[in-house]
Amino acid sequence: MTEDKSAPLSGSIMVVGGGISGLTTALEAAEVGYEVFIVEKNPYLGGRVSQLNQYFPKLCPPTCGLEINFRRIKDNPNIKFFTLAEVEKVSGEPGSYDVTVKLNPRYVNENCTSCGECADACQAELPNEFNLGMDKTKGAYLPHAMAFPARYVISPQIIGTEDAKRCQQACKYDAVDLEMQAKTIDLNVGSIVWATGWEPYDASKIDNLGFGRYPNIITNMMLERLAAPNGPTKGQILRPSDDKEPESVAFVQCAGSRDENHLPYCSYICCMASLKHATYIRARYPEAKIYIFYIDMRAPGYRYEKFYKKIKEDENVFFIKGKVAEVEQADDNNQITVVAENAVTGEKVRQTVDMVVLATGMQPTAADAKLPAGELKYTEDGFIINDAEQGGMFAAGCANKPADVVSSNQNATGMALKAIQTLVRR
């Protein structure tokens, strides 16, 4: 059964988002011979995974999986990627989309060797977004130690200042180009895969959990950065108020997830993330006590279940069935007391700890910023609904549903196939 469509077919695929899902879709499609464009809004590829200390299933550092992907991209002439790039407009139909992509200036060209002289010369300091604002970078910076492409960025915030000139003068390779302008390019592609990923849910919206009120209440993504060797503390987990090594840490599960007042759905990864975080802390501080307050521990699948069981055997990790609904500064004003009802014993628990980690969930990027493609359909929460019938556009990874890396990659591989099917009209 074939339908004749007269519009010319474009043989290329656009992948929006260069995180683990986008990279997977791009590589899977490119390696069977299709031309792929990756559009990434950050100055680097790798997305959320690159911010992690370790990731599932093998608890390896993100370099482990990302580096090989970057290698494959470099070696594959079918893939073109744009960083600091955003999709501005999409028109057309399955098989032929005209996409306008805006390329924001990096102010640093291909000559960059990542020597770092520009950063040394720059005086201005800006909050480091990669480390979730926990430290500062210079106005000229490498986003993170393993950034790909390994090229410095000059923040638009210092453009036009003396600092920018100092950066330019410091560069021995003529790589700083302060005249660089934003430009738009038009691409014609046959299908688009939206791998726009997720944002950590804004913990300051959860009034009763005290984030932003007390410095020693942090989020799970902040803990990842604290534990990462390239993070603000070089991998030491220290509590923010006084850089003390925490002797006790409480994890607040479902912080904003499974909650109609915030994210009504289960974010899927937070239980495993907290169990993983327990291993980070236990490895560094053998005496530390860990309290995990949960509604239900969700460890989907055989491997995760095994991981959960292993953590349960640790006598310094305590599981309390009951959601934390109140936090207060303890008498020693750096400590935090969390309050929950232990639903198993029916007693109210007040646990005072050095540090509290909110296991915040994931919100799809498209929840706040709708994507410039009218034909996309979303769930109430902003996840993109895949319409295989219509074809042409697909969502991969966390743009489609909350997922871990394994499921995201499986889903992303599937979406590569779906994109290809659109191209060959099947």
């Binding site: 499974r258 509604i295 069935k321 959601k323 609904a325 929950a340 009802e341 007693e347 109210k348």
Partner: protein
């Protein structure tokens, strides 16, 4: 906690709780946020998480005699933070309504009070009772009901003035109200006897008390100890949501206390000293002031309650039982006040008619006391006293 517990789900109970405004209970997934969100829940076996699971399993026995449902003042803090919209506040309120019916007995009478369709029947009872009883006495030559009441002449005034007792004689009124009161007190006495026993059994089972038996003296001491809390409405002000409820509730409570005092006072004046109202002489002025202030407090208090409930419609379930009580209190205050004003205005027909309606309202208040939401006056007080006695933390 008992090692083995035979779960006997009562599906009918779950349904009934739903009908009383607790139909959100099945949404609960036991995260226990509510128990922490509640500012007045104790540390030892806090509520309402455990009540929520018992309700969704239909464990009637764990709820009806559970004093904790009465400790809740329905401020709504739990419902606000509830991640599922399970509205524990509404569910506990529904359980209380169930418990009221359970301990009151007389299901037929309870149905008349709590079924909106039976509202005309409820008001018809006193309407008919007063007339029929009055007419029967007339047959025997006792004129306690006069359709052309004489004016009372005293202090040498020539035209005289309206006196409501010339229409319905106080003997007729009290012949109806005294037995009704005794009936109401008896229902409460029987209900409380069962309730206290159940509450204690439940507390022992759930480990909420270390007292083995209830010592009446200690219980009364606890009751006295919690009275200031009730009078000051301290529990209300601990709530985060709905703090504005305290004032109207206080107005209504003190309004009733004031009117109960005035009624008792003039009851003694009438039957003790033999002086009939209307008590216009200046010596009675302080008591009259109490009556008027209390009446106004009832009217304003119930009106504010109505307004607050209306405004909260999205967050808090309001059922017929809630509106019935607020409406009755308002009607009581309004008819009382109007019959007084129309008497002063010398509008004979109007004042007798309003007085008649006022008597109907008073009768409905009395008879519905053990069956309506107003029974919380007795049960919540008892539960708070018991909680104090149990020594819960």
């Amino acid at each position: 906690m008992a090692d083995k517990y035979l779960v006997e789900p009562d599906v009918g109970f779950i349904k009934e709780i739903g009908e009383y405004g607790g139909d959100s209970l099945k949404k609960c997934f036991q995260c226990a946020t509510c128990s922490v969100a509640c500012p007045i829940s104790p540390d030892n076996k806090p509520f309402p998480r455990k009540e929520m699971i018992a309700a969704s399993w239909g464990l009637k026995d764990k709820l009806v005699g559970n004093g904790d449902v009465w400790l809740c003042h329905n401020c709504g803090d739990c419902s606000t933070l509830c991640p599922r919209g399970a509205k524990p506040g509404d569910v506990l309120s529904a359980i209380r309504m169930y418990a009221i019916s359970h301990y009151a007995g007389f299901p037929a009478l309870g149905k008349i009070v709590n079924d909106p369709k039976k509202l005309p029947v409820l008001f018809a009872i006193p309407a008919v009772l007063f007339l029929v009883l009055g007419l029967i006495f007339k047959i025997f030559g006792i004129h306690w009901l006069n359709f052309s009441p004489e004016r009372v002449i005293e202090h040498g005034d020539t035209v005289g003035h309206i006196a409501h007792h010339a229409f319905f004689h106080t003997w007729l009124v009290d012949l109806i109200f005294v037995p009704t009161s005794i009936f109401v007190v008896a229902i409460f006495a029987l209900g409380l006897k069962r309730m206290i026993a159940d509450m204690h059994a439940n507390a022992l089972l759930e480990g909420k008390t270390d007292k083995e038996n209830i010592d009446p003296k200690g219980f009364v001491q606890s009751l006295i100890k919690i009275l200031p809390t009730i009078m000051k409405h301290s529990k209300f002000s601990e709530c985060g949501e709905n703090t504005e409820r305290a004032t109207p509730h206080m107005m209504v409570l003190f309004g009733f206390i004031g009117l109960a005092f005035v009624t008792g006072f003039f009851f003694i004046v009438l039957y003790g000293i033999g002086i009939h109202g209307p008590y216009d002489a200046l010596v009675w002025l302080p008591v009259k002031v109490i009556a008027i202030v209390s009446g106004i407090a009832l009217i304003i208090g119930s009106f504010l309650m109505f307004k607050n409930r209306k405004a909260k419609a999205a967050d808090q379930m309001s059922t017929y039982r809630d509106w019935f009580l607020i409406g009755l209190v308002f009607a009581l205050g309004a008819t009382g006040m109007l019959s007084y004003l129309t008497r002063l205005a010398d509008a004979a027909f109007l004042t007798y008619l309003i007085y008649y309606i006022h008597l109907m309202c008073v009768f409905v208040l009395f008879i519905s006391l053990p069956f309506s939401k107003l029974a919380h006056l007795v049960y919540r007080t008892t539960a708070m006293a018991y909680n104090e006695y149990a020594g819960r933390k």
